[in-house]
């Protein structure tokens, strides 16, 4: 009789280990897939930008520095690797694009040509998709990280070769920079 109880307990334990292991692997694959989705959208954005720049180049000749900033940020983003570096480079690209679109508001004739409006809708959508892909990735990555740390799933985390996935933090260079505030009331040196 004790032998049977022992066997039953063993079987239940084994079933649980298999279940927990499979859940972890499933989450892991979701995280990998979530990252791939971000990648797809980033690539789409990188492909769209040269199109946009070529379309508006003629009309915005004297806004060269803004256009160049967009291109530079795009090239930096294309060559970035790893979650952290990519996140930062893409954040800078978002800002450069934001400045660029703020400028286009001053050129109504640009908006009138359907091509630019269409490209802008495409880029807006791509930006949104990047945002949503990031949101989905962060959600599943958080789920994955929590699961592998929680007791008792953490007991099989080593077996599933689970390691914490890096979250995509919103790296906003503009917001991180500490503004230089001078409260001394002294006149700044001219």
């Amino acid at each position: 009789m004790p032998g049977i109880i022992f066997l039953v307990v063993l079987a239940v334990l084994a079933l649980w280990v298999v279940g927990a292991y499979n859940r972890l692997i499933g989450l892991k694959n979701q995280v990998v897939n979530g990252w791939k989705q971000i990648d797809v959208q980033l690539k789409r954005r990188h492909d769209l930008i040269p199109n946009l720049v070529n379309t508006v180049k003629g009309a915005m000749d004297f806004e060269k520095s803004t256009l160049e900033a967009v291109i530079a940020a795009r090239n930096k983003a294309v060559s970035a690797t790893g979650v952290k570096a990519t996140a930062q480079a893409e954040g800078e690209l978002t800002q450069a694009l934001g400045r660029f679109f703020a400028l286009t508001e001053a050129y109504p004739q640009l908006k009138a040509t359907g091509n630019v409006a269409q490209l802008q809708e495409e880029l807006t959508s791509t930006e949104n998709k990047i945002g949503f892909a990031r949101q989905f990735y962060n959600d599943v990555a958080t789920d994955y990280n929590t699961k592998q740390m929680q007791f008792p799933t953490n007991l099989v985390a080593g077996l599933a070769k689970a390691s914490p996935a890096e979250l995509w933090e919103i790296e906003d260079a503009g917001e991180r920079a500490v503004p230089n505030v001078d409260l001394s009331m002294n006149k700044p040196p001219a």
Binding site: G34, A102, A117, Q118, E121, S125, E127, K129, G131, D143
Partner: protein, 352 residues
Amino acid sequence: MSDSNLFAQQESNRRRSAWLLAGFILLFAWVGFGGDWAFYLQTQGAPPEAYHHIIPWIGLLTSSFAAGLCWYSWRYGAGRVLWATGAWEIIEPADPAQQQLVNVVEEMAVASGLPRPRIWIVPDPDPNAFATGIDPQHASIAVTEGLLRSLNRDELQGVVAHEMAHVRNLDTRLMTLLAAMVGAIALMSDGMGRMLRGGAYVRGSSSGGGGRGGGDRKGNPLALIVLVAWLLSLVVAPILSQLLAMAVSRKREFLADATGAQFTRNPMALASALEKLDGATAPTTTITHGAAHLCIVDALGRPASERPGVVGDVFGSHPPIRERVIRLEGMAYQQAKLEGHPGVLTPPSLPA
């Protein structure tokens, strides 16, 4: 969102769908075999040379018909729903509005982590939207022309997110099967009623010669009870199936609103879209009884859907819009409180 909650939702919808199919076949079997039984009891006392109803062919017929119909609704139900509304599919977006719709659907597919559903337009000036399909891999989202005209980008996103939530929770499976079955039960009830009247006429004329057969029937109370119960179920089944469809749909709407808000992280956009849809008073004429419970707002403009309390709970297919908006506003408030200020979780969007 917690994964276990999602799996629980999907599981309960899978179970409900299975029960629905089983209940549907059982209902048809009862209608068929019950009729056979009543017929058998009636002809039992008939003279040996007269007709004896021994082979229950009505039951066999209705059961196999029901099984066939289940298979058909599973396989083609979504297509039939779309066909009934006269929707056409966007293959290549023809104008900026359609392009925007395609983009928004793609965005929501990304946000929900599902494949992109097929996109359809219903030629109707009234703003409304619905989703259908047996699983997320074969899902369709349809919006009316009026919806495209009257909503801005964020509101459209909110509505599409609500529909994607139905797809992800597998509500669309249950709803599509229900739509097919409500139609089929109404049809069966009509058909059986007609057959019954015809049968009574034939029997009445054939037994007109001798009063003996009539006397036998009166002498068998069991036959009478079975007959009455059978007739009653013919009358009650269509009403019951309609009520079931509405009750199921009502419960899912709040959940889809909440899940949709999780996709967009922008509950206020859906709230404002719902208010716009509510403001459009005209019922969506192309969407008939069979598919009304699929829509984001009640397509029939039934006053019961707007009534809080018992009446709305039993006869409305949708919860009152006011109540849905209040819940969405609550979510927006929670989000703003959590973040310190509103709008922080909305995805980056360029000035449009």
